[in-house]
């Protein structure tokens, strides 16, 4: 058994896919009959995917909205107390508030009212700030997107090359150092890393400001540098290690060995291997991005950045339903889009996936 696995595991991926792509082999699945399989053009297949995914995502968003509604209802605390503070409201005031926010109606009705308004573009109002949700969102989305974008870019730009280097020099000093350093980055919680960076770069060296988002583009970058670096350090390790593992596997493949024997340059080989290793790397990148989208809260908290992460936490604790719902759906939509892009990129890069698609 293991012998079987061992021998076939080393089967050159590139060689195989080259021979298979034209034949429309049946691939995975339960298709047993032999015959002329239906072939789809790539464009048709892509269109089908995108359509299906969008439809599926809409259903998913609906399910999420129901879940969030229930969870917000179940979460501890009392919206009336939150609205009136530590003062016991007079019964008249409490009743007026309940009426204003529709809290007397059965849960299903409350949900449907919200849904009805939502799909008509009325995203509601924050009970906490008294601002409209769209205004609140618009004011804060920039910071989070910039933070996530910058953090992700830093992570990928640093980690992929490091992973490649580690793979090529596998077993050596450089490999071990890269692995160790990346794990250190991964093992410290974001708030601890953030604090350390603050201590070194905002206090010892005074290179960056300690809090806030800044005004104007360059000031923004200045303010976002440390938080983005904190994010990048936290997730970079994943990308480094998975790149390394995937590259190692490719570099150990027969086709690489043969190519090397024939005198193909290392650089070329690295590129080809990287392209083949791209699938897991891309998966990881997609997951990292999804993770970042939802997890900026620790960094925003440490660096006092007025972004969506902090807003979500405050709104959840306040039971500010409209805001929580909007943010949750926004995050879900972004993640669905990222996953779709990642899956589409698989198609571009990998013959196996294209093949699977055409079944």
């Amino acid at each position: 058994m293991s012998a079987e696995a061992t021998t076939v595991a080393w089967a050159p991926a590139a060689a195989l896919s080259a021979s298979d792509s034209g034949k429309g082999a049946s691939g995975a699945g339960s298709v047993e009959e032999v015959g002329v399989p239906r072939k789809r053009s790539l464009a048709e297949a892509l269109a089908r995917i995108i359509l299906l995914r969008t439809a599926g995502s809409v259903v998913m968003l609906l399910v999420i909205s129901v879940l969030i509604f229930l969870l917000t209802y179940l979460s501890p605390g009392n919206i009336i107390t939150n609205l009136t503070g530590l003062h016991p409201p007079t019964p008249a005031v409490a009743a007026a508030l309940r009426r204003e926010y529709g809290l007397n109606q059965p849960l299903v009705v409350q949900y449907l009212h919200w849904l009805d308004r939502f799909v008509h573009g009325n995203w509601g109002r924050s009970m906490r700030d008294q601002t409209s949700v769209s205004q609140l969102f618009a004011g804060r989305v920039g910071v989070t997107l910039a933070l996530v974008g910058l953090g992700f870019a830093m992570a990928v730009l640093a980690s992929v090359p490091l992973g490649v280097i580690a793979a090529r020099r596998a077993g050596g000093m450089l490999d071990r150092t890269i692995s160790a350093v990346s794990v250190v980055g991964l093992s410290a919680p974001a708030f601890a890393t953030g604090l350390l960076l603050l201590y070194v770069f905002a206090y010892l060296v005074s290179a960056f400001p300690p809090a806030g988002a800044g005004q104007g583009l360059f000031d923004d970058l200045d303010h976002l540098a440390l938080p983005a670096a904190t994010l990048a350090i936290g997730v970079g390790a994943y990308i480094v290690r998975l790149t390394r593992t995937a590259m190692r596997r490719e570099l150990g493949s027969d086709y690489v060995v043969f190519a090397r024997a024939r005198g193909v340059s290392e650089r070329r080989l690295t590129f080809v291997a990287l392209r083949n290793a791209a699938i897991p790397v891309l998966t990881m990148a997609g997951l990292v991005l999804s993770y970042l989208v939802g997890a900026t809260i620790l960094v925003e908290s440490t660096f006092s950045l007025p972004g969506l992460g902090l807003l979500l936490q405050e709104s959840v604790e306040f039971k500010d339903f409209a805001v929580v719902q909007f943010l949750a759906l926004f995050i879900a939509a972004v993640i669905a889009a990222i996953m779709l892009l990642v899956d589409l990129s698989y198609l571009v890069l990998s013959p196996e996936w294209r093949q699977r698609l055409r079944r």
């Binding site: 999420i64 501890p76 998966t283 936490q313 196996e352």
Partner: protein, 291 residues
């Protein structure tokens, strides 16, 4: 094949006796083992060694590093930092193991299924994954702690739920690559059941990926548990736990930094050791296979 390994490893080769017996002279391997060993000893015997680690002692609060009888000083409740760190090993180390394993088991099951079956099964599982990825941790944490109180094991369950979509996606991607390979086709032609194909054949081939992921998940799970404390929906007060200490110690960061820095270093050390050990095992296994 020997020449292959010689080319691949740009350095020295350690001689291996037989596949399965790993004998490395590598320093990192030994160091990792030592660290993990110590951590395990602390986890098993910590409570015995320091039975009063969590006793509140208001008479000796925030003593600095190097005080008599308190090598690393004390925290705000007068608890010795060394004692509570050792006693905290069990709580810190156990939960993340369950999280990483639990997430891997679920992720493997769903990921293999999605990749192998394809079509609607894949579609459904992928949408489920997207859904779980989108759930805001703070909301779930708040609800869980609201309903169950500050409970360690419910936090573990929560983190398993939040972690498994990542594992599912990774396993799915890894499997899809494998699924078009000839051995799978061969297995199908041999009319092997789908479960056998998935769990005996596919799993072996994606295992290296999974193992790397498992170890990273372990480190991540330790962090995630301390993040819950940071967010203020923390796990039970007063229990010795490195994540809890790390967060609690921030108040006296500039008075006795050891209260925060000691647990932070411990977390980093253990996570590193676990991962480096995994690396060494990976490499050794590779060597063995190559032979």
């Amino acid at each position: 094949m020997a020449s292959t390994s010689a080319t691949l490893n740009s350095g020295r080769l350690a001689p291996l006796a037989i596949q399965g017996t790993v004998r490395r002279r590598s320093v990192t391997f030994v160091a990792s083992l030592v660290v993990i060993g110590l951590a395990l000893v602390a986890a098993c015997f910590g409570q015995l060694l320091f039975p009063n680690a969590t006793t509140v002692n208001p008479l000796q609060t925030v003593l600095p590093v190097g005080s008599t009888g308190h090598l690393l000083g004390t925290d705000q409740l007068g608890r010795d930092v060394v004692a509570i760190s050792v006693a905290g090993a069990a709580s810190t180390l156990l939960g993340p193991v369950v999280i990483a394993l639990g997430s891997m088991v679920i992720g493997t099951f769903l990921g293999l299924l999605a990749a192998f079956e394809g079509r609607w099964v894949d579609f459904a599982i992928s949408r489920l994954t997207d859904l779980l990825l989108s759930m805001p941790m703070i909301l779930l944490a708040l609800v869980v702690s609201g309903i169950f109180g500050a409970s360690y094991w419910w936090a573990v369950v929560l983190l398993i739920v939040l972690q498994c979509p990542y594992d599912t996606r990774i396993v799915r991607a890894g499997t899809i690559e494998q699924v078009t390979k000839p051995y799978v086709e061969a297995a199908r032609l041999l009319r092997l059941s789908r479960w056998r194909i998935m769990y005996r054949h596919l799993l072996i081939n994606i295992w290296p990926l999974e193992r790397t992921n498992l170890l990273l998940n372990y480190a991540n799970a330790m962090i995630a548990m301390s993040a819950l404390s940071f967010l203020g929906v923390g796990v039970q007060e007063g229990t010795a736990n490195w994540g809890r200490q790390l967060v609690d110690g921030e108040q006296i960061l500039f008075q006795n930094p050891a209260a925060s820095v000691a647990p932070a270093i411990l977390i980093v050390l253990v996570a590193c050791a676990v991962n480096l050990l995994g690396d060494s095992l990976n490499a050794a296994e590779r060597e063995a296979q190559v032979r």
